[in-house]
Subunit: 410 residues, 2 copies
């Protein structure tokens, strides 16, 4: 009667008491993660880019929901797209390269947000919101920034039925508009450090896209900080890549490698780019989070200055750092197996599904009652549990559905 | 030593034990809200629009932070803009009509999100995310929708350096793209009701703007549901306006009037629009939330059909409903007074500020220790408390700053 989530067997991740308290819960054990930690020592531009072989707007397959996913071992890419479709994580938007994040996929993103949001606040950052329309001239102010982003911009040229005097860029990232505002808010050393974050959508006109991994519009958080010294900025950049690393290991069971990007891969406008990358099931690297020490590149371009304690005017030292919905793709590609999706329990929207079965209508109330008790017990133990008591589907259909979507069963 | 937040005296809102437990906390009492409940019986298009007399891009005044706000009683509009600037709630973005929501203003929005997000999930909705770029042709599919939104659209015509074949609209609202997707997900009555919500940014090219109240880009949640019967859709539309009403009363202490919009003010594409409106301090009405019964207008335009239990194909019945960052403006305009901002305690990011004062350096440790104890006691009692123990400012500066920003003191 109880279907349990197929969980990676990192026992430290799961509440140790669960299987003891609830004998009906028998998670299938998978040792794949523990067997494959063969990591690339460095991540070249090629490996980072090479997982984007497919376009989001690839013609949808005509697979029906009742069909199994392509085995991961047979065709990793077809498997990935199958899992996303059949587990109802995301769908293709009407505009090439855009993605609709469906409730089950979005719940994974919400779990990521919930964790990181707390960590960002604990480390002294406040949330806020910058507008997404940026005057075209802003992008042009920082030489390597304009070079890095120009080919990827979406541009608004018409507003309220009229041709605009200055074209507006839909933010690909917010360093330029952030500096425009910081320049108004930062006057003296007393205003530093200034440490903010925003949860937002960003747009990059990528030609090769893939759900979650690379899409025209995606969701992310972007942290932006300004400091009085280069040492402070460097410390901040490292602190945030550490937050990401810990998150990847402890919450998502993804053994990432933290390191510094090569010069050619450094963020457009940054002095140093730190990254966490992980090897996916197809042995390709995925960049899962970045933290940039921006030095004074943007503060010089925008004139973001402060008066220090001795009365001298200085340019601030800055950082920016981001994790996006790409992380959801990383979780899928790290933990999935031939049968479909497997989610790390701390991130899983549902950890256990209960499917009640009765033979005679007389048994219905008794079974439902027992199922509810199990649900309550699991819920009280902190397990995210779903009781699928809908009348519209048979237990067989439900088993197939939940296994395809997120679960196996003992 | 203790500065308390200036709170409206709706005692039911505040923890009754606070002033008893913490004799140092002496909230100033304001009875203005209780004195002014003279509500407009109906809200005409004129009154709803008339509070937008000012543009976000109004030249910034050259008031400095140490200057008091314009008294509310003297010039409501100047007062409103002063409060937003001096309490650091928001600032003007570089593009006309756009707004930067600063941390203190954003924290109010986060409090709104936290409450509503729970209520939406309790009433059976899941969060998800739809892309913001909508093919221009989608907008044109529903006659009154295109008529209502065409003058307000921001249009992307260039992507990746090239002129696009089909222009893309930056969403002013998502009914069209939602229906495009619903049509792919809804097949039979078993797929209904479909009840989702998204937290997102939207863009409307308004000519007359005002921070929070009306901006080119704003943040909101938009709920979208599809049902098998018109009765279910109507019930849902009313349920959600009820959620908003309860939120306005119980969390923000804004006595709203719930009602139905006149035909001319009904949402473009809806059959009925329910609204909550409240009278602001200048005796003008502000629309603070809407819930639309869309009938079959969009499902007919997009062909969103399902097979009912008897095997017949029918168009779904739909709703949509939204609350935006405008609500923050409503809170400011309802509760503020001549001296500045006053926030309802359930929404206030900070309820009490403690400013330690010592005469001799020897006293410093003792005072800070005592202040910390008070802070801990308040925190334990569930009060959102801030201890401003920074060395960079004098107590006098801090008193002025916090009074101007959010607090009065006894």
């Amino acid at each position: 009667m109880v279907v349990s989530l197929r969980l990676p067997s990192l026992s430290s991740l799961f509440l140790p008491s669960v299987s003891r308290r609830s004998p009906a819960v028998l998670p299938r054990h998978h040792h794949r993660i523990l067997r494959t930690p063969v990591f690339a020592a460095s991540f070249s531009a090629q490996t980072t880019v090479s997982e984007t072989d497919d376009r989001v707007d690839t013609q949808k397959s005509n697979r029906v929901q009742d069909q199994a996913v392509t085995p991961r071992s047979k065709d990793f890419n077809a498997w990935y797209l199958d899992v996303i479709e059949q587990a109802e994580l995301a769908d293709y938007g009407p505009v090439r390269g855009t993605m609709v994040i469906r409730p089950y996929g979005y719940a994974i993103w919400e779990a990521i947000q919930d964790y990181l949001n707390v960590k960002f606040k604990e480390t002294g950052h406040s949330n806020m919101y910058f507008p997404q329309f940026i005057p075209y001239s802003f992008i042009e102010k920082e030489a390597s920034h304009v070079e890095g982003f120009s080919p990827e911009l979406a541009v608004v040229t018409i507003g309220g039925g009229k041709e605009l005097e200055e074209k507006l860029v839909v933010r690909p990232t917010s360093e330029t508009i952030v500096n425009h505002m910081f320049t108004q808010w930062i006057h003296s050393y007393r205003d530093l450090p200034l440490m903010v974050n925003q949860w937002a959508n960003v747009t990059r006109w990528e030609m090769r896209t893939k759900p979650f991994v690379r899409t025209l519009e995606f969701l992310w958080q972007e942290g932006h900080t300004a400091h009085a010294t280069p040492e402070e900025a460097e410390k901040e950049a490292i602190q945030m890549i550490d937050v990401y690393t810990k998150f990847a290991y402890e919450q998502t069971a993804i053994p990432v490698i933290a390191g510094r990007k090569s010069k050619v891969e450094t963020f457009a406008g940054a002095v140093k780019t730190y990254t966490i990358e992980a090897m996916m099931g197809d042995r390709k690297a995925l960049q899962a989070g970045t933290s940039h020490n921006l030095g004074q590149n943007f503060s010089r371009a925008f004139g973001t200055q402060f008066t220090d304690e001795s009365g001298l005017r200085q340019h601030v030292w800055q950082t920016s750092w981001a994790v996006s919905t790409r992380f959801v793709g990383g979780i899928i590609m790290t933990h999935g197996d031939d049968t479909g999706l497997m989610l790390p329990p701390k991130i899983a929207p549902i950890q256990v599904v209960i499917i009640p079965i009765w033979k005679k209508d007389d048994d219905r109330a008794v079974v439902l009652n027992a199922a509810s008790s199990v649900k309550e017990a699991l819920h009280a133990a902190g397990i995210k549990v779903k009781l699928d008591d809908s009348d519209q589907r048979t237990p067989g259909w439900k088993f197939n559905f939940w296994e395809m979507k997120v679960c196996g069963y003992p």
